[in-house]
């Protein structure tokens, strides 16, 4: 089984609307991260939330973490066409937490 499974797999919204993406994971974590990937490009780190935090904000991004449910959500408010990308949650795993495991991602399409 994989850490970090996002839903929905794909999301299409109008510019100005909010977009919410969810992530579930299976094992205990120290923190959880969200990344963005534009088509065919590298991964851009968006935000990191620690296991003792419940909510974190960064600009138009709001991330929540519920460790009891092993889930996180990423909210993008007032979306823009430029937000069109794939969004991944990622958690540390392995002995000593050396590797980051990514989910399958949510493909967000924001229509202008």
């Amino acid at each position: 089984s994989q850490q970090g499974e996002e839903d929905p797999q794909a999301l299409s919204i109008q510019e100005g609307e909010n977009a919410t993406m969810n992530c579930s994971y299976k094992t205990s974590i120290n923190n959880l991260q969200w990344y963005r990937q534009n088509s065919g490009r590298g991964l851009v780190h968006l935000i990191l939330i620690r296991s003792n935090e419940r909510e974190k904000h960064s600009g138009r991004l709001r991330v929540t973490l519920d460790t009891s449910k092993k889930s996180s959500s990423l909210l993008i408010t007032a979306s823009r066409a430029a937000d069109t990308a794939s969004y991944f949650c990622a958690t540390a795993a392995g002995t000593g937490g050396f590797k980051t495991i990514f989910g399958a991602g949510t493909r967000l399409f924001v229509k202008a």
């Binding site: 923190n31 990344y35 065919g40 590298g42 780190h45 050396f98 980051t100 989910g103 399958a104």
Partner: protein, 114 residues
């Protein structure tokens, strides 16, 4: 702003050939990683490297793969005897501390094996 750089951006190679993918991590980072993303699929962990040795590797990272930090700045991934299924984007990343902290990713090398 410091960034991870990868070269080349695109590599085409014939099946059975060896390729070396190069990365220059951020200079004060101590942990280095390679990831792979087959088109349309998840980003998969390959290997992490710390203190001049592999700290963790996935089941994908078999004897066909090797990593090296030949000098103080470069971090390379070598794939021996490439196969068609090695075609993917390969991402290098680095971080100040262990996985689960912010990792900075390069733009990737698209490897096409023909």
């Amino acid at each position: 702003e410091p960034e991870v750089t990868q070269t080349p951006s695109h590599q085409v190679t014939q099946m059975g050939q060896e390729v070396i993918l190069r990365c220059v991590p951020i200079s004060n980072h101590l942990y280095f990683y390679w990831y792979r993303q087959i088109l349309g699929q998840k980003v998969e962990f390959l290997v992490s490297f710390y203190n001049n040795e592999i700290s963790e590797k996935s089941e994908i990272f078999d004897d066909q793969f090797s990593v090296e930090r030949p000098d103080g700045s470069n971090f390379t991934l070598k794939i021996r005897s490439t196969k068609l299924e090695d075609s993917a984007m390969y991402f290098c990343a680095s971080s100040e501390s262990r996985g689960g902290t912010e990792a900075f990713f390069g733009q990737g090398t698209r490897l096409t094996v023909v």
